[in-house]
């Protein structure tokens, strides 16, 4: 290392907050071929908000060259946000190429101790609507309002509609909201990125917001794609009900990310799911954010039949009347129906072990399993009934009201 670099480093040690000096050192390190070390300094400047707009693309490109993809993505994001034009598109291209071609890229957070491998290339989702049992009306609505605008943006743009935006799926647990979101990504032929509560929440101040931002940055890099936020109510719990400030900051962050939909989020379809839409902050349900709200109800009779058929497929069975079983499992969720079949299978295995011969699944096994189970949607339906009865202002939950008319009241 040259005397000049040593001198600069010594000077920086004496005044570590001198950002101009740190920038000079970073540039000198690049000139003399010590790019990885230079990137550390660029990152420190970036974190301190002292990296000049003009240097964002330079630092981002350097980061891509040396596998620091996370830093590169942050630089690109900041460059877009601050309106840097020159080089932004090139940086995006090289970053996208690095993400896709690398197969699995290592995102070095600390260059000396690389972070765990991050799957860089997310393949297009393969789940399709045919893989989702029942829910025909919901699938049709999603196809018309989400998939078609995504596949034919030109057509919709002519009429002033644009692809993308946010869709909120809500309903009782176990009724296929996540599967439906996957299938939506599959129908659009784009990757599916899943953000769960545990991926975001962190007790350290500011970390939850940063993680959420990173999830959106990642999605922007991979656009077109579906970004799916599971348990939206937990991530964006209504601020009016919150006592602490940490949760509020997370809602603010999510609002910021969603409000970028017109420009930076082009090609990102943000889907979210929740069991408790009434606990989601109201600001998120306003136009431009999650303005399309879709009720995913417990499966109806044909859907239950389809789910049971799917769950029993490829298993030895004899004389099962699926129609009768579907009739008798009102309010069972998809997960409940699968649990019913699994319980029946357990009984069959027990019998086979006792008798020493193979026993097929019969209607009697399913009947016995049915007697031991109750639908898990009951509590949700009771809560939903309470809510829509007293707080369905504006008719936002009219679909639920309609569905509840078909359900006998529980005591």
């Amino acid at each position: 290392m040259s005397n000049r670099l040593d001198g600069l480093k010594a000077a920086l040690e004496l005044s570590p907050d001198n950002h101009a000096l740190r920038l000079v050192l970073a540039e000198a390190l690049v000139e003399e071929g010590y790019a990885p070390e230079a990137l550390d300094h660029y990152e420190q400047l970036f974190d301190a908000g002292e990296l000049a707009h003009d240097d964002l693309v330079l630092a981002g490109t350097l980061a891509v060259d040396h596998g620091r993809l996370q830093l590169a993505a942050r630089c690109l994001e900041a460059a877009r946000r601050t309106g840097v034009v020159g080089g932004t598109a090139d940086l995006e291209d090289v970053l996208r190429a690095a993400l896709v071609d690398g197969g699995v890229a290592r995102t070095a957070i600390d260059p000396e101790e690389p972070a765990p491998a991050v799957a860089a290339h997310v393949p297009d989702e393969e789940t399709r609507f045919v893989d989702v049992g029942g829910l025909e009306a919901v699938k049709k609505a999603i196809h018309r309002t989400i998939v078609l605008p995504f596949q034919r943006p030109d057509l919709y743009e002519r009429y002033g509609r644009r692809a993308g935006g946010g869709v909120l799926l809500y309903g009782p647990p176990g009724c296929g909201k996540t599967l439906l979101a996957r299938a939506t990504a599959g129908e659009c032929g784009v990757p599916f990125l899943n953000v769960r509560m545990e991926d975001v929440l962190d007790p350290m101040y500011g970390v939850s917001e940063r993680r959420l931002h990173e999830a959106f940055t990642d999605a922007r890099m991979r656009a077109p794609c579906v970004l799916f936020i599971d348990e939206l109510d937990a991530i964006a719990f209504a601020r009016r009900k919150q006592q602490g400030s940490a949760g509020r900051a997370l809602v603010d962050q999510l609002l910021q990310e969603l409000d970028a939909i017109g420009a930076e989020n082009q090609g990102i379809l943000v889907l979210a799911a929740t069991n408790a839409p009434w606990d989601v902050d109201d600001a998120l349900k306003r136009p431009g954010r999650f303005d399309r709200v879709v009720f995913v109800s417990p499966p109806d009779v044909p859907a239950r039949r389809a789910i049971l058929q799917l769950a029993l497929a490829d298993r030895p069975q004899e004389g099962i009347n699926l129609d009768a079983l579907a009739e008798r499992t009102a309010q069972f969720s998809g997960a409940d129906l699968r649990a019913l079949v699994e319980r029946a299978v357990d009984m069959v295995i027990d019998e086979a072990l006792e008798g020493g011969t193979d026993v097929p699944i019969r209607g009697s096994h399913l009947e016995a399993a049915l007697r031991a189970l109750r639908p898990t949607t009951t509590d949700w339906l009771r809560t939903a009934r309470n809510y829509v009865e007293f707080a369905n202002h504006g008719g936002r939950y009219d679909d639920v009201v309609e569905y509840l008319r078909t359900v006998p009241k529980q005591r």
């Binding site: 509560m197 545990e198 929440l201 962190d202 007790p203 109510d233 937990a234 719990f237 009016r240 009900k241 919150q242 006592q243 602490g244 949760g247 408790a276 009434w278 606990d279 509590d379 009771r382 809560t383 939903a384 309470n386 809510y387 009865e389 007293f390 707080a391």
Partner: protein
């Protein structure tokens, strides 16, 4: 595992004790017996009304860290929930010894004292809490309960309005004001108040039951005489009715006057017995 704790905390804040317990059940052996786990488990169990289990969790945690304030708080709530007020008081005093200016603890202590009918002492504690943190909702909620327990319904209603002005989402404020409106013969306003509580916590069946009961008084005409009787100035209506009966009789329609008088008596008697019959 701190992420799991954060998840559990979030669920507790959302009033989802069952989900918090599910997250805590997944903790590994190194964290499942930590004080933090016992604290969160304790609050979740209290949320589910399992006070004996919550007390057990708090004691297990206290065996490791005998002076953990939050565990003592959990223990106090759990003991009070089981009606063991002396034990609850001992636990809350132990907690207050370490955190004498903790508003939540002071208000918890006041609530315990209110359960034991020590209203004067509870009042002093709430005043102290108000001095320490004038913005807090807890002492305002306690003050509403205190006024109600003292039988001063109008003061309780006025304090509820103050509470809601400062903390519009206070479920306690809405319910107490709803109760007052109902007792004052204004079931429509009461329904609105109870509906606010349902809006905040639709999973709480008792809130919905209260709202339905209030709404029934609006919708069912059999309730209307009772509603009228409860209102301020209802005696004026009664005297007005009697005057009308007398006037009709004096004008020569004696039979009609008698019929109206009997009708008035029947309606009045019905207004008195309707709550017992209809509820």
């Amino acid at each position: 595992m701190t992420v799991a704790f954060e998840q559990a905390r979030r669920y507790l804040e959302m009033g989802r004790s069952r989900q918090a317990l599910e997250v805590l059940a997944e903790l590994d052996s190194s964290t499942t017996d930590s004080p933090e786990a016992y604290i969160l488990r304790g609050y979740a169990l209290i949320g589910l009304g399992r006070h004996d289990d919550a007390a057990e969790a708090a004691r297990s945690g206290l065996a490791q860290t005998p002076e953990a304030v939050q565990l003592l708080h959990v223990l106090a709530m759990a003991e009070a929930g089981q009606g063991r007020l002396a034990e609850a008081e001992a636990a809350i005093l132990a907690a207050l010894e370490q955190e004498p200016e903790d508003v939540t603890l002071l208000c918890e202590y006041a609530e315990t004292l209110m359960r034991g009918a020590q209203l004067w002492k509870a009042d002093q504690l709430l005043r102290l809490a108000a001095e320490i943190d004038p913005e807090a909702a807890e002492w305002r909620e306690g003050r509403v309960t205190l006024a109600y327990l003292r039988g001063d319904d109008h003061h309780a209603a006025s304090l509820s309005r103050e509470l809601l002005a400062e903390h519009p989402e206070s479920i306690h404020g809405h319910r107490m004001l709803g109760l007052h409106e109902l007792n004052e013969g204004r079931p429509g306003a009461a329904t609105e108040r109870f509906a606010e509580a349902v809006r905040s916590r639709p999973e709480e069946e008792r809130f919905a039951t209260e709202a339905r009961a209030a709404r029934a008084r609006v919708r069912n005409p059999l309730w209307w005489p009772t509603t009228l009787l409860l209102r301020d100035g209802s005696w004026l209506v009664l005297f007005g009715g009697l005057f009308l009966c007398g006037g009709v009789a004096a004008m020569g329609a004696e039979t009609l006057g008698v019929i109206l008088f009997l009708l008035l008596i029947v309606v009045y008697l019905w207004a008195l017995i309707a709550p017992a019959v209809l509820e």
